[in-house]
Assembly symmetry: C2
C-alpha cells in the first residue's frame, strides 16, 4: 500500500524557507505573490496490514515534529 | 488564489533523505516499510489573475530543479 504523509508547519510558526522563496520570486520579477509556506511530502510503500496506530506512531516519532508541524495521512 | 506546488524527485534519482528515513523507521522497530521518497509541498497565495505561463515560469526558474525533479500544480 502507498502512503502519502503531508507535513506542514503549524499556523503562526515562522517559515524562513517560505520567506526566502517569497523574496526570490519577487526579485525574479513575479508580482502578485503573497505568503509562501513550504512543507514536506513523504511517500512510503508499506505492507497492507499496517495499522493506523503504527502510521501515527511513525509520524509522531520520526516524520513530523508535532511541536511545530501538523501531519496528514493519505492512503492510496 | 491558493496554489499548491508538489515537487517530487524523478524516478531513478537517488533519494538519500528517503533512504535515511527508511533505515530510521526500521531501527525504530517499524516493520513492513518499503521505499520512502521525500518531496516538497509549496503553498503560495497568488493574485487571481496569474497566468499558467507565470506559474510554470516560477516552477522552472525557482521552485523545482527540472533536471532531477517533477512538479505538479494544484489550484485551490
Amino acid at each position: 500500500m502507498k502512503l502519502r504523509i503531508v507535513v506542514t508547519l503549524k499556523n503562526g510558526v515562522l517559515d524562513p524557507q517560505g520567506k526566502a522563496i517569497e523574496h526570490a520570486l519577487g526579485s525574479l520579477g513575479f508580482s502578485g505573490v503573497g505568503e509562501v509556506r513550504v512543507g514536506k511530502l513523504i511517500e512510503l510503500d508499506v505492507a497492507d496490514g499496517i495499522t493506523d496506530t503504527d502510521i501515527d506512531a511513525m509520524c509522531t516519532k520520526l516524520l513530523a515534529n508535532t511541536v511545530i508541524e501538523n501531519y496528514r495521512v493519505e492512503k492510496q
